[in-house]
């Protein structure tokens, strides 16, 4: 009996340590000031949409989105080792059970994955993680409240007709250079 109790306690400890694992939020905060990283916050105002012109559905969809946070690591001649380390860290964070992986594509050299946080109709966060050995990696967090697949689709259709404020994306140009 004691042994079983011991075993179950061991497992419950494991569970606790899981839920207390490092989060992306923490990772973002820790690295925004780091010179190797480029960080960027995008607010919904990037979409210069005329609110009056939107349908009720589109408005609702727009409201379920909060902001987009981007953190990117750019590889150069000196930080290759760090790149590997940081990439491993992110992969480890995303392995946490609370991030449900939706899909993944790629090989060992490069790849991308999409994960989400929250239940089906109340998704709080989408995480897009893309990496390439020669150039770096980028984490894109789409944060919101009660996002759901429908809102997402409406959003994409609204995006097509929207004027995107490119000013907000300027920092990303460094990545492409």
């Amino acid at each position: 009996m004691k042994m079983f109790l011991g075993i179950s306690m061991f497992f419950s400890l494991l569970l606790v340590s899981c839920s207390d694992g490092p989060s992306l939020q923490k990772y973002f905060v820790e690295n925004t000031e780091n010179a190797n990283f480029i960080s960027l916050d995008i607010s919904p105002s990037i979409l210069k949409v005329d609110k009056a012109k939107l349908s009720v559905e589109q408005n609702e969809a727009l409201q379920s989105f909060d902001k987009i946070n981007i953190l990117a690591f750019k590889v150069n001649a000196t930080n290759r080792v760090q790149f590997e380390m940081e990439r491993e860290k992110v992969v480890a964070i995303l392995k946490d059970k609370k991030y449900q992986q939706l899909m993944k594509f790629g090989s060992g050299k490069e790849g991308a994955s999409i994960s989400c946080l929250g239940s089906d109709d109340h998704i709080e966060e989408f995480v897009l993680f893309a990496n390439k050995k020669d150039s770096g990696f980028a984490i894109v967090r789409v944060l919101g409240k009660d996002m759901n697949p429908n809102n997402f689709m409406t959003m994409i259709s609204a995006l097509k007709s929207a004027n995107i404020d490119l000013e907000q994306l300027k920092p990303l140009q460094q990545l492409i250079k």
């Binding site: 009996m1 079983f4 899909m103 993944k104 594509f105 090989s107 989400c116 697949p149």
Partner: protein
């Protein structure tokens, strides 16, 4: 009390061991390109509202809801091809898959295996192995799990561009 704990412990062990599927070892290798779509994705896609009058889309969504996992691994590496082949073969035996068809088309060797569900028509798993062919000797290993019917496969191949889809479509259509 004891029993509950034992069950819990066993449940834990089995989930940790079996969560990793046989083919996951091919994931993340430099020479292998992998595409993995998880159940959650299918769940979410199945929730998208579509026009009720659009029959094709409705059928497609109905099928999506029944899917669990899609895994596609492709490689051009000879060593990995051999490894994929042996893994697929041993998996076929342990998981009890039956061969649905074997096609030799333009030097392309295609094997399609299925694991039947409750009835003959129902499929729990579809495994496809494509070897050789013109496109730079690419090897493709695809596994699709869920609870769907053989008749629904053409819907899938129409909408998703899965490798070998055209051959699969041709052959499943003939069967009906």
């Amino acid at each position: 009390m004891n029993r509950i704990i034992i069950t819990l412990v066993i449940a834990f062990f089995t989930t940790t061991f079996f969560a990793q599927s046989t083919f996951d070892k091919f994931d993340g290798r430099d020479e292998v390109t992998a595409i993995i779509v998880n159940k959650k994705m299918f769940d979410l896609m199945g929730k998208v509202k579509v026009d009720a009058s659009d029959n094709e889309a409705q059928n497609y969504l109905n099928l999506i809801r029944k899917l669990d996992n899609l895994k596609v691994f492709t490689t051009t590496n000879v060593r990995i091809t051999a490894e994929m082949k042996s893994t697929a073969e041993s998996y076929t035996k342990t998981a009890g898959l039956e061969e649905l068809m074997r096609v030799n088309d333009n030097g392309q060797n295609i094997r399609i295996l299925v694991k039947s569900g409750a009835t003959e028509e129902k499929i729990k798993e579809l495994l496809m192995f494509i070897e050789g062919g013109n496109k730079g000797n690419q090897t493709v290993l695809m596994s699709l799990t869920g609870d769907f019917s053989l008749n629904e496969i053409p819907i899938l191949t129409d909408k998703m561009r899965i490798p070998g889809g055209d051959i699969l479509k041709k052959n499943t259509k003939n069967k009906q």
